[in-house]
Amino acid sequence: MKLLPSPLVCRDAVELVSDYLDGTLSRRDRRRLEKHLAQCDACTAYLDQVRATIAASGAVNHEDLPSDVVEGLVNLFRQYRSDN
C-alpha cells in the first residue's frame, strides 16, 4: 500500500520555496508543495515575493563603484603596463 504524503501547513511550505524555485526539491516534496499552493493564496503570494526577490537580485548591477576606487585600479593597470 502506498502511503499518502502528509499535507503541508503554511509554516512548513515556506521552508521549501527556495529549493522549489531552484528545481532541487524531491518529487514527493514538490508534489506536496504544489498541492498546498493550489489551495493557498498566501503561500502563492510568498512564492511570488521570493521569485521577485531572486529576479531583482539578478538585475542588481554595480554601477555605483566609487570613481576613486576605479581610478586607483586603473593606475595599477598603467603601472603594470609601463613595467612590462
Binding site: 501547513v9 503554511c10 509554516r11 512548513d12 515556506v14 521552508e15 520555496v17 527556495s18 529549493d19 531552484d22 532541487t24 493564496d41 498566501a42 503561500c43 503570494a45 510568498y46 511570488d48 515575493q49 521570493v50 521577485a52 526577490t53 531572486i54 529576479a55 531583482a56 537580485s57 539578478g58 538585475a59 542588481v60 554595480h62 554601477e63 563603484l65 576606487v69 576605479v70 585600479l73 586603473v74 595599477l76 593597470f77 598603467r78 603594470y80 603596463r81
Partner: protein, 199 residues
C-alpha cells in the same frame, strides 16, 4: 560589450576595457574576499592582488571556463590563503536552523495569520522595477556571512550551486541551506521596507 570582447580588448592593452571589468566585478571580488578575510581593508588588498594576477595571467587564460569563473577562482584562492594567515575560519551561519519566517506570522495551526502580499501587482514589469532592485541590493548588503557571499554569487552573479560551493569551500547541500535562509532574509527586509507602499 560582453566579457569575452572586453578580454580581447584588454589583451590589446585597452585601458577602458580594464576599467569596465573593474566596474563589473570589483564589488563581487570584495564580497568573495570578505567571506574569507577578517576586515574590509584585507578584502581590498585581496581584490587588488586579484586584478594584478589577472593582468599577469590574462595572456595564458585559455577560455576553458568563463572569465567570471576564472576571476572569482583567483580571488577565492588568494582570499583563502590570506584568511588562513589571519587564522580566520570560514564563517558559519549562526541561525542555521529554525524557521525563516517569523513565528508570529502564523497561527497555532501553522497557517498564515499575517499573510504576505505580492510586492507588485504588475508581474510583467517586475524586472524593470528599479525600486525593488534597489531594495534588494540594500537588503543583500545588510546580510551577514556566509549568506551575503552565497546570495551574491548565486542570485546576483548567477553562478551554479556547484560553482558557489567550490568558491566558498562549502558542500552543495550547505550552499542550498544558506541560500534558502539568505533569500528568506532578503525577502523579509524588502517586505519590511515596502510596507504600506506597493512598488
Amino acid at each position: 560589450m560582453d566579457d569575452a570582447e572586453l578580454l580581447e580588448s584588454l589583451l590589446g592593452g585597452d585601458e577602458s576595457a580594464f576599467s569596465e571589468l573593474v566596474r563589473r566585478y570589483h564589488p563581487t571580488l570584495l564580497k568573495v574576499a570578505r567571506y574569507y578575510v577578517g576586515s574590509a581593508a584585507s578584502a581590498e588588498d585581496v581584490a587588488q592582488d586579484t586584478w594584478i594576477a589577472v593582468l599577469k595571467g590574462v595572456e595564458r587564460f585559455q577560455g576553458r571556463s568563463s572569465f567570471k569563473t576564472w576571476l572569482l577562482r583567483i580571488c577565492a584562492n588568494r582570499a583563502r590563503t590570506s584568511g588562513v594567515k589571519e587564522h580566520r575560519s570560514i564563517p558559519v551561519d549562526p541561525n542555521e536552523s529554525g524557521p525563516t519566517v517569523s513565528a508570529h506570522r502564523f497561527d497555532q495551526g501553522g497557517f498564515w495569520s499575517e499573510p504576505p502580499v505580492p510586492f507588485t501587482d504588475a508581474v510583467e514589469t517586475r524586472l524593470d522595477n528599479s525600486a525593488l532592485v534597489d531594495a534588494v541590493r540594500h537588503a543583500i548588503d545588510t546580510l551577514g556571512e556566509p549568506q551575503q557571499a552565497v546570495v551574491t554569487l548565486r542570485d546576483v552573479e548567477g553562478l551554479s550551486t556547484q560553482e558557489v560551493a567550490t568558491l566558498l569551500g562549502l558542500s552543495e547541500a550547505n550552499v542550498r541551506v544558506i541560500l534558502h535562509r539568505g533569500r528568506a532574509r532578503v525577502r523579509e527586509i524588502v517586505e519590511e521596507a515596502m510596507k504600506g507602499s506597493k512598488i
